[in-house]
């Protein structure tokens, strides 16, 4: 029982339990707090997998930006709806059964997986390696990603803009 095991068990327990809390809690804001806990524990998992840069990006993008965007969405849309209207029981039952079957089949696949371990030192100069790979092998996907972000920015503004009011009280 090494220290890595203990940290992994703790982080995965926090991730899965706060994910479950997100499913069963009644208020939307409680769901958001549970989701932020899940994101932060996933970033701890990334540190265990020797990906420090991705862990920092996870904290900044997911538990920072995406959570704030979702909270804005909640605040701008529903004021009193606390998701008390659930899906019908038959649908929840069917979805639950099919997800259990899916997870059992995936578990069978995972448990038969045999990959011989080859040690690589990903944790040494992690950010430098990512930068070198990003600007040598993956330059074109990097530029396309910047284009996608620009299009998403402009598209989000155009979609969310209120164009019913013409030059009136915005």
């Amino acid at each position: 029982m090494s220290g890595e095991y203990i940290v992994f068990l703790f982080l995965s327990l926090v991730a899965v339990s706060s994910g479950t809390l997100m499913l069963i809690s009644k208020k939307v804001m409680h769901m958001m707090v549970a989701l932020i806990f899940t994101f932060i524990s996933i970033s701890g998992i990334y540190i265990l997998l020797s990906a420090e840069f991705i862990a920092a990006v996870q904290v900044m993008v997911y538990s920072g930006a995406v959570a704030i965007i979702m909270i804005f969405g909640i605040m701008l849309t529903n004021h009193h709806d606390s998701s008390r209207n659930k899906a019908p029981l038959i649908r929840r039952l069917l979805v639950g059964i099919s997800i259990i079957l899916f997870s059992i089949s995936m578990y069978v696949g995972i448990s038969h997986l045999k990959i011989s371990l080859a040690e690589v030192a990903l944790h040494e100069n992690n950010t430098e390696k990512i930068g070198i790979a990003l600007f040598s092998d993956y330059v074109i996907p990097f530029e396309i990603a910047s284009l996608v972000l620009l299009v998403a920015l402009v598209g989000a503004i155009v979609i969310a803009k209120n164009d019913n009011v013409e030059g009136g009280n915005q």
Binding site: V28, F72, S103
Partner: protein, 104 residues
């Protein structure tokens, strides 16, 4: 000192993916559906980073793919929230089951 095996990370990602899929298929509030989709994308990212360390050909490429996936997920959530706000302005609700017309 032994490492945590690859299967443990894959099982964690499977659990998170199943939680996200259950939320995306049963919840009625569309913000919660978007959140569940983000959770499923995070599970996929865990798989990418785990295979980049413990996979058949361990290298930095898996982490690069996880970075691109994070970029796409952030853009997707921004556009999703914009669509949701536009739909809320038309329908005055966020219930997924009432978004059943393309044009009023």
């Amino acid at each position: 000192m032994e490492n945590v095996p690859l299967q443990a990370y894959l099982l964690l990602a499977l659990a998170l993916f199943c939680i996200g899929m259950y939320g995306a298929l049963t919840k009625k509030n569309s913000v919660i559906v978007l959140i569940s989709i983000e959770l499923m994308l995070n599970a996929a990212n865990i798989n990418l980073v785990a295979f980049s360390k413990y996979g058949v050909l361990p290298s930095i490429n898996g982490q690069i793919f996880a970075l691109f996936s994070i970029v796409i997920a952030a853009a997707q959530s921004a556009v999703g929230i914009a669509i949701l706000i536009a739909a809320y302005r038309n329908k005055n609700t966020v219930n997924m089951n009432l978004f059943n017309k393309l044009k009023n």
